[in-house]
């Protein structure tokens, strides 16, 4: 029985205007198998999943479920067959309880409403992720919210569970717990499709893998027989460098100091910062790890000046800058790479030249308040060339670039201003491995020039890769900061979960 196919997708093709998202893709999953679907952003993973879950219809191709060809008109059809999906972005109503959310999402499929609470409790405990059906979603942690989504799938008679990048919102400890649940499920005969780009997780969990590149299947493998490097090779192709040499640095004098920064939350969805203290030296890269929504956004806005707070808690090179606007802080040497590339880092419908002017206006691009277009063009061309931004020319709209290329452009634009302090949020989020290496090398070069670099990221691999010192943020508080090489992952995980009590000196010793 174990070798029969649970699912076979054959020759799936889906075209969107301008791109072929899936090109003759084949995917096959056995009973009780944990199967990984790997690929960089834009490789076509999401499209394939939407087709499998009945959200999107393929142009051509066949789906065979337990030996029979099927047609999926909508997600309810998929659920009726026993296909469950946990999306990367939760679709939960914050103000409703766990039970109400599950009942709403499943509709008639939720079964007897009276016994639903009991079933939620039993199912969640059976799989080692206890949930209280009467808690409101707003009071749950991110990890618990994910449990709600998983339990919602498990309440149905499930045969295939799809998880889209489930670990990106979890601490390392929570990831371990999730893996145990998934292994238990698989033992009971449920097949699991695990979508990720974190290779070490895939090698730890999955029995087989399908790798997508540019919308096509570029390989199949057994992850346990492979190394993360060999799988990465299949993901990015032969021509992209995937390793870089990270040297640690010890910085000079403090450039950025944050002293007792506390804020109040403007609304229920904001996190108040509580007595935040840390510093970034010239010539060092400091990282702040943390699960999204723990105050990163608020901290970034306080540092950049987009949301001014309090007084005398943010210092650049010994000067308090709390009262200064973002433009004034830029003039003191701050550069900023926000998380959202399109619609904050760059104006989508403006050209790269105009987007160069967006933040580089002080780099000799203005003459008496008027724009000197030849200089703008020249600088834009230089950024495109130096940072190897793939685009026809500087007149291309920012929205026409891929995520990685736009990020290379934005980082290049900020770096060309020769900043003294570079603040970056999730610098390589959704960026392909080739661009990642280029971006990291740019950051290293900037550090060598004596720039203070602050990186806020959820990607622990990245933080361990590039940061000289590392700390974590949880619920608006920051942990102590210690040298990256003295900080075991387990310790950082506890910090990310808010347990700062574990003695940092002890770890450092």
């Amino acid at each position: 029985m174990d070798n029969t196919k649970r699912l076979e997708m054959i020759g799936i093709t889906k075209t969107y205007p301008g791109t072929v998202a899936n090109d003759q893709v084949a995917l096959s999953i056995r009973h009780s198998e944990i199967h990984a679907l790997l690929g960089e952003n834009g490789a076509g993973k999401s499209t394939l999943m939407k087709i499998l879950y009945g959200v999107t219809k393929p142009d051509t191709g066949t789906i065979i479920w337990n030996g029979k060809e099927i047609r999926l008109a909508n997600p309810a059809d998929a659920r009726a067959l026993g296909i469950g999906m946990v999306f990367q972005h939760f679709s939960l109503f914050e103000t409703l309880t766990v039970r109400e959310n599950i009942e709403l999402a499943l509709g008639n499929q939720a079964g007897n409403s009276a016994t639903l609470a009991t079933r939620i409790r039993e199912t969640s405990e059976k799989y080692g992720m206890p949930l209280d059906p009467d808690r409101r979603i707003a009071s749950l942690s991110t990890g618990e919210k994910q449990r709600v989504e998983i339990v919602r799938c498990l309440l149905l008679d499930i045969q295939l569970l799809i998880l889209d990048e489930p670990t990106s919102v979890l601490t390392p400890q929570e990831v371990e717990r999730l893996f145990e649940t998934l292994r238990l499920l698989s033992k009971e005969g449920c097949s699991i499709l695990f979508i990720s780009h974190k290779l070490h997780e895939v090698t730890a969990l999955c029995e087989s893998a399908t790798i997508l590149r540019h919308g096509k299947v570029s390989g199949n493998c057994e992850p346990k027989q492979e190394t993360p490097a060999s799988i990465a090779r299949m993901m990015v192709g032969e021509d992209t460098p995937i390793t870089h040499n990270a040297k640690r640095a010890i910085g000079g004098a403090d450039f950025l100091q944050v002293r007792q920064l506390s804020t109040t939350a403007a609304d229920t969805f904001e996190i108040a910062l509580k007595n935040v203290n840390f510093s970034v030296k010239q010539g060092e890269i400091v990282g702040i790890a943390g699960v999204a929504g723990n105050g990163q956004e608020e901290l970034l806005k306080a540092l950049s000046g987009e949301q001014p707070y309090g007084s005398e808690s943010i210092w650049f090179a010994g000067t308090a800058v709390d009262a200064l606007s973002p433009m004034q802080r830029r003039r003191l040497g701050m550069a900023f790479v926000p998380e959202d590339r399109l619609g904050r880092g760059a104006v989508p419908e403006m050209s790269l030249a105009e987007n160069t002017l967006l933040t580089s206006f002080d780099s000799g691009l203005l003459k008496k308040g008027f724009i000197h277009f030849p200089s703008v063009t020249k600088l834009a061309k230089r950024i495109i060339q130096t940072y190897k931004v793939k685009t026809p020319n500087e007149l291309a709209a920012a929205s026409s670039l891929s995520g990685g290329n736009l990020q290379k452009f934005i980082i290049g634009r900020e770096v060309e201003q020769a900043p003294k302090l570079l603040i970056m949020a999730h610098p390589t989020w959704g960026v392909d491995i080739g661009a990642q290496v280029a971006i990291h090398n740019t950051i290293f070069a900037l550090r060598e020039q004596g720039c203070a670099v602050l990186v806020i990221s959820e990607d622990l691999d990245e933080l361990y890769n590039i940061c000289d010192r590392l700390g974590a943020i949880c619920d608006g508080q920051v942990s102590p900061f210690v040298a990256t090489d003295d900080l075991p992952l387990a310790q950082l995980g506890q910090w990310m979960a808010g347990d700062f009590a574990a003695d940092a000196q002890e770890v450092a010793a």
């Binding site: 205007p17 301008g18 791109t19 219809k57 393929p58 142009d59 051509t60 191709g61 066949t62 047609r71 950049s304 000046g305 987009e306 606007s325 973002p326 433009m327 004034q328 802080r329 830029r330 900023f336 926000p338 959202d340 619609g343 904050r344 880092g345 760059a346 104006v347 989508p348 419908e349 403006m350 105009e354 002017l357 967006l358 933040t359 206006f361 203005l366 308040g369 008027f370 724009i371 709209a397 929205s399 026409s400």
Partner: protein
């Protein structure tokens, strides 16, 4: 089945083809409309759109009508590029007319050369005050400017009526709700003998050049467009929203106020209850029809002026009600908004997408 499919990128072709399409569709619909009203369609269209500008005097009248519309529309385009939805050019124009009249009636018997410039500046100030109140409400009270500007239009209209019935009423005017006739020193000089075309044309050409340079060459103009397209990016770059919102509103208010001053000290020559047949409102259509670009606006403004004149012509020669002007304005706006869909979407005659899958 017809369906709309998002384009991968904005269509440059349709950005400019859309207003042309809208005008053509308006003409075609107009032909049917005239036919339904029992007129010979082509002849009626000829009377409406050709006869008003068939002679030199007609052409100068076209510009007389276009000047106030254009002054308002150039300023509105700046606001709209900043995503400040100012619907208040009409009120700002009326306030310009009132402020200008307050000064002008002081100079009725004077021949001081300063009379005309001061009257114009008073008009500019009037429009700026009115727009400035909107800026204050928006920036300090977080008021939606679309609503506040519309309300301010009504307040301005009632202030105008109060002025002509009260403080500015001509004491020797037999109790008509009109101000005294302005003195020659206050009136805008006529550019061509025997016509009504006045110095306002020069103001409007200056405004064309100035707003064009401002929006396409100045750094503030760039900041305005960034703010209009992407508030988060403007904030990230550190652009000062207060300053930018204030700038566009004050420029627009000033230009609309100048338009109002130009009307009372130009073709009208005194303050009357009806100094504008909705120029400030039609300027909104003109701004969008002209793609918020000063050159496009100039073409669209001339067309709008023609629609006003055609409305009067069809009243006289076809015996149609003046409402026909509003109908044509509405048609143009309606077809423009419809055609603009094609900038971001394309039409597909879709077959069932699953047919291919079954093959």
């Amino acid at each position: 089945m017809i369906r709309l499919e998002p384009r991968p990128a904005i269509s440059g072709f349709w950005t400019y083809a859309s207003p042309v399409t809208a005008v053509l569709l308006t003409l075609i619909t107009g032909a049917f409309l005239f036919a339904a009203l029992g007129q010979a369609p082509l002849e009626a269209l000829h009377i409406y759109f050709i006869s008003p500008i068939a002679d030199w005097y007609g052409i100068t009248e076209l510009f007389v009508k276009a000047v106030p519309i254009l002054l308002c529309a150039y300023g509105l385009a700046l606001c709209y590029r900043a995503a400040v939805w100012n619907i208040g050019a009409e009120g700002q124009l009326l306030m310009g007319g009132i402020f200008a009249s307050v000064i002008a009636v002081q100079f009725v018997d004077s021949d001081a050369w300063l009379a005309m410039p001061i009257t114009m500046l008073a008009g500019v100030a009037g429009g700026m005050v009115w727009a400035g109140i909107v800026a204050f409400l928006k920036l300090k009270m977080n008021t939606n400017e679309t609503l506040s500007t519309i309300m301010m239009n009504y307040i301005a209209l009632n202030l105008l009526l109060y002025s002509v019935h009260g403080p500015l009423k001509d004491p020797h005017g037999f109790n008509f709700p009109e101000s005294a006739l302005f003195g020659d020193s206050t009136l805008l000089p006529i550019l061509f003998e025997g016509t009504r075309l006045h110095l306002g044309l020069a103001f409007s050409l200056l405004a064309l050049a100035a707003t064009w340079v401002f929006i396409s060459r100045s750094f503030i103009g760039f900041q305005i467009q960034v703010m209009g397209q992407d508030q988060a990016a403007a904030k990230m770059a550190g652009f000062n929203k207060t300053k930018l919102v204030l700038t566009v509103l004050l420029i627009c208010g000033g230009l609309a106020g100048l338009a109002g001053a130009g009307e009372v000290a130009g073709p009208i020559g005194q303050l009357v209850p009806h100094i504008s047949p909705g120029y400030g409102y039609s300027a909104i259509i003109v701004a969008f029809l002209g793609r918020l670009h000063p050159v496009g606006i100039t073409l669209a403004g001339l067309l709008m002026a023609l629609i006003y004149m055609g409305g009067e012509m069809s009243q006289i020669f076809l015996g149609l009600p003046n409402a026909i002007t509003g109908v044509f304005q509405g048609l143009i706006l309606f077809f423009l908004l419809s055609s603009d869909v094609l900038i971001r979407y394309r039409i597909r005659w879709a077959s069932n997408p699953m047919k291919a899958g079954a093959a």
